[in-house]
Amino acid sequence: MITDVEIPEPLAPLPGATVNTNQGLLQWISSVDHKQIGIMYLLMTLFYLLVGGLLALLMRVQLMVPTNTFLAPDSYNQLFTMHGTTMIFFVLTPAILGLAVYMVPLQIGANEMAFPRLNAFSFWISFFGGFLLYFSFLAGGAPDAGWFSYAPLNQTQYSASPGIDYYCIGLLLSGIGTVGTAANLVVTIITLRTPSMHYRYLPVFVWMVLIDAFLILAAFPSLNAALVMLLVDRQLDGHFFNTDAGGSALLWQHLFWLFGHPEVYIVVLPPFGVLSEVFQVYSRKPIFGYPFVVGSGIAISLLAFGVWVHHMFATGMGNTVNSFFAVSSMLIGIPTGVKVFNWLGTMYGGSIRFTTGMLFATAFLVEFTIGGLSGISFAIVPIDWQLTDTYYVVAHLHYVFLGGSLFGLFAGFFYWVPKISGRLYSETLGKWFFWLFVIGFNLTFFVQHILGIIGMPRRVYTYPNLAGYSSLNLISSLGAFLMGVSMLLFLYLLYDTLKRGKRAGDNPWDGYTFEWLASSPPQLKNFTLLPPVYSFRPLHDLNHPKIGDYQKPDEEKYGTKDVD
C-alpha cells in the first residue's frame, strides 16, 4: 500500500520539472537545486583534496631525507599551513555539508532544502572563501603560522606578509557559508520531513547531520569572533593577542580550541552517520542499538564543548585546571567506543557484502580505533606533556581525519555514487583503489607515531640526522606517494564510472532509506509519492514486507527490549 503523501514544499515555489535543463554551465552557477549544490560542494571538495594532497606530497618530498633543501623554510611553513587549513575548512567541512545537502532532503522525503537560495548563497560564499585563501599565494605569501595560527605569531610584527589577513577573511567567508548551510539543514530536517517520519524514524545519517548542524552553529561563532579580533589586531593595530602591548596569547588559544575541538566532531559525526547506513545495508541488517548510536552522537556533541582545554595542557595552566579537563576528555572515549562496538554488532550475524564502500567502512573500524586510542593518550595529561606537538599528534590527527572522516566519506561515496551519477562503478578499480589507499595511508602515518615518540616535533621543515629519523621519514614519504598514486586511480575510477559505468537502477544495493526510492540520478522533483514511515528503514519495510520492522513493537525496533 503506497499512500499518496503530500511532500512538503519550500515556501518559495520552485520552477517545475518543465524547466529547460540544457543551459550548460549557467544552469549550475544559477542553480538552487539541492542536488546540484551538493554535487558542486563535492566537486569543490575533490578539487581541494587534490590541491591539499599535492601540498602534502611536496612536504613529504622535503622531509624524505634529513637536512633537505628542496624547499625553503618559509615555503615549507606556508605549505603546511595551507595544507591544514585546506583540508579542514575546504575539504572535510564542505564534504560533509555537500553530502548532507544532497542526501538529507532525499532521506527525509523532501523535495528541496527549506531555503534553496540560502543554500546556493552558502555554497558560493564558501567557494569564494577558499578562492580568496589561495589568492594569498599571489599576494605576497600564503599564511605561514600553522592552521591554528597561534598568537602572537599571527601578529604583524612576526608575520608581516598579508597571508594571515587572507586566512582571516577566507575563513570568515567560508565560516558564514558553513553556518548558513547548517541552519538551513536544521530547518529542513525539522520542518520538511514527510509527515509520518517521526524523529525516532530519522535515518542515522540524518540524525548525525542534525546534531552536527547544531555543533556548527555553536562552534563556528567562536572561530569567527577570534578571526574578527585577529583582523582588528592586524588591520587596525589592536591589541587582543599582541603580547607586546598587553594582549593575551592564551585568549586566542581558548577561542580557537573552543571552536577547534568541536570542529573535530563536526567533521567526524556525519561520516559516522554515513557508516551507519553503509554497515546496515551491506550487512543486510538494521543498525545494532539505534538509540545508542544516536544517543552517543548527542553525548559526543555535548561533551565536545567541555574538553577544548586539553589542547592546552602544556601551557602551564596548573594541575587543578588540567585534571578536570583530563577527566572530561577521557569521558568522550566512552560514547565513541559505544559507536564502534555497535557497528561491530551490526555486522555480527549479517550477510556482509564486501563492496568497496563496505571495505572502507571495515577499514575505518580499525583505523579509527587506532586514532581514538591515541587520542585518549592526550587526555592522560602526563603522556600529553610528552607527546603533544610531536609527530605523534600528526599521526593521531591523520588517523582521525583520514582514517575516521575521509574513510567514512569514501564509504559514502561508493555507497551513493550510483545514486548521484546513475551509474555503477567498477568494483575491480574500486578495490585496487581501496588497497592502495589503505596501505599508503598506514605506511605514511603509522610510522609517524614512532617518530613522535623518538622526539621529532611537528611543523619542522627539516630535521637533523638522528638515529631512526631518516629511515622512518623515508617510509612515511613513500607511503604518501602510494596514496598519491591511488588518488590518480580514484580520478580514473570517477572518469570510468561516468563514462562507461553501467546503468545503476534505482536501488542497486537494496537500500533502506528513501533516497533509493527516487530515480538514479534523482529528478529535479525528487518524489511524487511516498509510503508512510513506520520505522527507520521505510524502504526496507516496503520491499521486504515479510521481515519489515514496521510490524515490530518499538522496543524491538530499537533493540531496547528488556532481557528476561
Binding site: A72, A145, Y150, P152, L153, T243, A249, R284, K285, F288, G289, Y290, F292, A314, G316, G318, N319, S323, M330, G333, I334, V338, N342, M347, G349, G350, S351, F354, T362, L365, T369, S374, I376, I380, V381, P382, I383, W385, Q386, L387, T388, D389, T390, I453, I454, G455, M456, P457, R459, Y461, T462, P464, L466, A467, G468, I547, K557, Y558, G559, T560
Partner: protein
C-alpha cells in the same frame, strides 16, 4: 621495539619525572593494545564468519541488546576511572606547584635559540645547557617574542614558553649524559632549528662549569683576534650580543662570552668551527634564513679576524 629502546625517546627516561610518565605510558599502552586487539579480533571473526555466501537469505533482523550495550558503556567507564586515578596521581608527582622556590635555571625561548640563566650566578649561556644530576631542579620557562616550547624527551614533560608568563618544570635528572631536545611549538621560519642540548653532569662538574661560565671573557688573544675584537666593538654587534668584560651588552641575540666553548652553533644547525662561523658571518640569511641576524657586507679579512676573535672566546 627492541631497536626502538636504543633510540633516544620518551621511552628511555633519564629523569625521575620522565620515569613516572613512562610507567603511566606503559599501562596505557597495555590497555590500548588490549582494546585494539578486541576490536580487530572481533572484526576479523565477523568478517570471516559472516561474509555473504551465494544463496544467502536475508539474515535475522535483530536490532540490539540492552545487556551488551550496558557492557559497552560500563567497561570503558571502569577503564576511565582507573586511568583518571593514575593520571591525577602522576600529575601531582611530575609537576607540583613551585611554592616560591628560587628557580635553578631560567630558560628563555627566543626566535630560534634558547637562553639559559642561572639565578644567583652570572652565568648566561645559549642552546647548550648544563644541569646537575641527582638534584630536584626548578626550571622557569619564559619567552621573549612568540610562543616556544621546551622539550627534552628524556627529561620528561614539555612546557610552553609563553610571552608575558612564567611557566615552571621540575626535573630530577638521574643519569649523566647529553640529551637532545627541540622547540616543539611552531614559532616561525626556523622553528626546525631551535634545538636543545642538555648536558647533565655531576654536581661537582656542574659547579665547575658554572664557575667557568661566570667569568668574563678574558682570553689570550692572537694578533688577528685582537683585530677582530676591535672590529667587533666598532661594529653594531654589541647592540644585540653580549660579551661580558667588554662594552658589548646587547640582549637580543645569544650571549657570546664563551661562544667557542659550545660544540654546535645556531641552535644545533651546525658544528661550531671556524669554517661554519665564517660562512655564517658572511651571509647569515643564506645559512639560516629567517634568523634575526641581519646580513652585514663586511670585507673578507674583517670576517676572518672576527672569526679568529669569536673562536678564541672559550
Amino acid at each position: 621495539m627492541e631497536k626502538l629502546s636504543i633510540l633516544p625517546s620518551v621511552l628511555s627516561p633519564a629523569s625521575a619525572q620522565a620515569d613516572r610518565i613512562v610507567s603511566l605510558t606503559s599501562y596505557f599502552i597495555v590497555a590500548a593494545a588490549i582494546v585494539l586487539a578486541i576490536v580487530i579480533g572481533s572484526l576479523v571473526y565477523v568478517v570471516i564468519r559472516f561474509r555473504a555466501k551465494p544463496g544467502d537469505k536475508e539474515p535475522a533482523q535483530f536490532t540490539g541488546n540492552k545487556v551488551i550495550e550496558g557492557f559497552m558503556i560500563g567497561v570503558p567507564t571502569l577503564l576511565v576511572v582507573v586511568f583518571m586515578y593514575l593520571t591525577l596521581d602522576t600529575m601531582a608527582d611530575v609537576l607540583p606547584p613551585e611554592e616560591d622556590t628560587r628557580p635553578d635555571v631560567v630558560i628563555t625561548g627566543h626566535r630560534y635559540w634558547w637562553e639559559a640563566a642561572y639565578p644567583g650566578t652570572e652565568a648566561i649561556v645559549a642552546n647548550e645547557i648544563h644541569l646537575p644530576v641527582g638534584r630536584r631542579l626548578l626550571l622557569h620557562i619564559n619567552a621573549a617574542d612568540v610562543i616556544h616550547d621546551w622539550w627534552v624527551p628524556a627529561l620528561g614533560a614539555k612546557m610552553d614558553a609563553i610571552p608575558g608568563r612564567t611557566n615552571h618544570l621540575w626535573v630530577t635528572i638521574t643519569k649523566p649524559g647529553v640529551y637532545d631536545g627541540a622547540c616543539s611549538e611552531f614559532c616561525g621560519t626556523q622553528h626546525a632549528w631551535m634545538r636543545i642540548k642538555v648536558v647533565a653532569q655531576s654536581e661537582a662538574d656542574f659547579r665547575q662549569w658554572v664557575a667557568r661560565k661566570e667569568k668574563a671573557a678574558n682570553p689570550v688573544l692572537s694578533a688577528s683576534a685582537q683585530a677582530g675584537a676591535a672590529f667587533f666593538s666598532r661594529q653594531p654587534c654589541g647592540s644585540c650580543h653580549r660579551i661580558r668584560g667588554t662594552a658589548a651588552n646587547g640582549a637580543v641575540g645569544p650571549d657570546l662570552t664563551h661562544f667557542a666553548s659550545r660544540k654546535t652553533m645556531l641552535a644545533g644547525l651546525m658544528e661550531n668551527n671556524p669554517d661554519n662561523l665564517r660562512q655564517w658571518l658572511t651571509d647569515p640569511q643564506h645559512v639560516k634564513p629567517g634568523a634575526l641576524m641581519p646580513r652585514f657586507s663586511y670585507p673578507k679579512d674583517s670576517i676572518n679576524v672576527l672569526v679568529a676573535y669569536l673562536s678564541a672566546l672559550k
